[in-house]
Structures are given as C-alpha cells and as structure tokens.
C-alpha cells in the first residue's frame, strides 16, 4: 500500500483544478458581458476549457480505476463519509457539467469546434424550447460545482492548517511515478 498519489494523478488533479476554476470564473463573468468580439472569444474558450476538462476527467476515471488512490488518513467517520461523498460529487459534476454546457451550446444553435480546429458532434439538435432548460441546468450545475470546489479547498486547508496531517501535502509530493 502506497501513501502517495501517482505523478499522473497529481498532474491530472491540479490541471483539472486550475481549468475548472478558470472556467467557473469565466462562466460567472461572461453571461453579464455586453455583446462584443471579446465576449464571443470568452464563450469559445469557456467551451474549449470545458471540453478539455471532460477529456481529462475521462482519463482520470480510467487512471483512478487502474491506480487506486492512497487510503484516506485517519479521521472521524463523518469526515470520512463527507470526503468520499464530496469526491464522488466532484467527479460526477466534472463529467456532467461540461456535457450540459456542450448540449446547451448545441441546442442554442452553436456547434463546438474545439480550439477552432476540431469539429465536435452535436449532442442535441438546435432546439429553442430545450435551450433555456439546458441553460438553467448548466447554470445551476455551475453554482453547485463552485460550492463543491469551495468545500474541497476549505477541507484541504482544514486538514493542512488545523489537523496538520498529510492530506494536502501528499497531493503536492512529486515522487513515485
């Protein structure tokens, strides 16, 4: 039994984390922007980041399935349950949130061309009735994901600063490939 994450798992974790926080910030700002070329550009990058997150998450699920993460450090049962539940929720949302955004974009008549280079298939057809519903789902999902990321950060800091255990440190330790 190892007490470390693999380098791949660590790299995936921090890359996805940085991308998700960026995408959430863009999503928060862009909907209120006045129509401009910059707004379209921000929307495009938001979508491309989302597609990147989805792709990395699929890799991450496969990696995690074949490379079990280290067991949780000793902690009260309620914290253990909360940690497992929050991690499961984060994994689910990091897969579903890009998908709802992708579907919303398609329903609103915007196919996604990844980085302006790779045309992606439409998940749904252009649909004026479905678009507002998917928008609602994507916005609510974004809010829930932001809350979950916030709790995840707070919990990591709590383990590091208050419990002074290895929880955060072992996600930073760059060894054992």
């Amino acid at each position: 039994m190892t007490d470390s994450y693999t380098r791949t798992a660590i790299a995936l974790h921090w890359t996805v984390g940085a991308l998700v926080i960026t995408a959430l910030a863009m999503g928060w700002i862009m909907t209120d922007m006045a129509t401009s070329p910059l707004k379209l550009e921000v929307y495009s990058w938001h979508k491309w980041i989302g597609v990147t997150v989805l792709t990395l998450m699929l890799v991450r699920v496969l990696w995690r399935g074949t490379h079990p993460p280290p067991v949780l450090l000793p902690m009260p049962v309620w914290q253990r349950r909360a940690a497992v539940g929050l991690h499961a929720f984060l994994y689910a949302m990091l897969l579903l949130q890009p998908l709802s955004g992708w579907a919303y974009s398609n329903a609103a008549g915007r196919p996604i061309v990844y980085l302006g280079l790779i045309p992606l298939p439409n998940l749904v057809e252009k649909n004026r009735e479905l678009a507002p519903l998917l928008k609602e789902i994507h916005e609510t999902g974004g809010l829930l994901l932001a809350i979950a990321v916030g709790l995840h950060l707070l919990a990591a800091l709590k383990h590091h600063l208050i419990d002074r255990d290895d929880t955060l440190r072992r996600m930073l330790r760059w060894r054992a490939g």
Partner: protein, 191 residues
C-alpha cells in the same frame, strides 16, 4: 351626386376587381410563387470556425422555370430581414442593429435574376443581383431542380462576403469569418 346606396354598390365590386387585376399581374409575371412553408433560406456564418446557422423565417418570391428552356428561367426573391432567427433573442436583437443588418432602415433584401445558363440535366446557373443593406453585388449560383409531387424544389448555395454588404464592424473580424454561406431550398408549385 350619387346616393349612399349606389356608392356602397359601386364599392362592392372594387375589391374583386382589384383581386382579379392582381392575379392577372401575378400570372403575367409568369412565375410560380415560392411556398414559404416548404422552403428554407439559411445563412451559415462561422464564429471561430464554428458554423452557426441562421434561418430567414419570412421571404417571398417567384420562379418561372421551363424544363425545356432552362435558360429562360426568371427568379426573384424578397427576404424579410427582420425575420432572421439566429437561435436566441439576444443575438437576434444584436444582428438587427445598425452595425449588422440595420433592419430598421433596410427591412428587405432581394435577389433578381438577370441571366440563366443551362447546365447538366436538372441544373442551371443563375446570375443575378443581390441587394442587402443598400449594397448590391452580382452573384452566380448553380441551382439543382428536383421534381416533387405537383411542385418543384430548387436547391443551391453560394458564399458571399458580409463585408461587401457592410455587415459587421472590423473589430469582429477576428472572431467572425467574412465568408457567409447562403443555402436555399425553394419549393414552387407546378409539375
């Protein structure tokens, strides 16, 4: 001085007479009217390489086509620019603004054919004047004809430069292609 009763009687045939005259003029134009419900007119613009389709919901026109004499084809199309639907209300409001289609000042776009050349069987090449937003351009389009039950379908597409028609300011060039594809499927009655 005519009595009111006579006035009413006199007016009662003005309507039908005008209708008759209108039908006569329409027939003289010698083209079958475009059936809006069965036809589509789509503009496809590219936003950072992602094709976005915008439908014109309202247009009218006529096509006079004789299979035996395709070169004698005459086609006109008038497009209600306020009927453009990009897919959402915000974008629809945006494209109606002065920098784009300026629909308040230029509510109509039109195409009038000027010359037609016969092509492969079931095809012809039409040249005509396209007028959008006060700008006119000559365009040439290859059109295919498909027989339907009691009707004909005319299909084609061509690419135009939106900037040639003053559509969109230069600041958008980085995110929006100049080339816009127009695709049509026009159904007119007639065997």
């Amino acid at each position: 001085m005519a009595s009111p009763a006579i006035c009413i009687r006199a007016r009662s045939w003005i309507g039908p007479a005008l209708l008759g005259l209108w039908v006569a003029v329409a027939l003289a134009a010698d083209g079958a009217a475009v059936n809006l419900r069965q036809s589509t007119l789509v503009a496809v613009f590219k936003q950072q390489n992602a094709p976005v389709e915008a439908n014109f919901k309202n247009f009218s026109g006529s096509i006079a086509y004789d299979e035996a004499k395709p070169a004698a084809t005459v086609a006109t199309l008038n497009v209600d620019m306020t009927s453009l639907d990009v897919g959402d209300d915000d974008t629809n409001a945006e494209v109606r603004k002065a920098a784009w289609f300026d629909s308040a000042h230029y509510p109509q776009a039109s195409f009038h054919s000027s010359a037609v050349k016969a092509g492969a069987p079931g095809h012809f090449e039409v040249t005509g004047t396209l007028a959008i937003k006060g700008h006119t351009q000559n365009v040439t389009v290859t059109v295919s004809v498909q027989p339907l039950a009691g009707a004909k379908a005319f299909d084609g597409s061509f690419t135009l430069s939106r900037k040639a028609f003053g559509i969109g300011e230069a600041s958008w060039d980085g995110v929006l292609d100049d080339a816009v594809q127009l695709r049509f499927h026009l159904v007119v009655a007639g065997s």
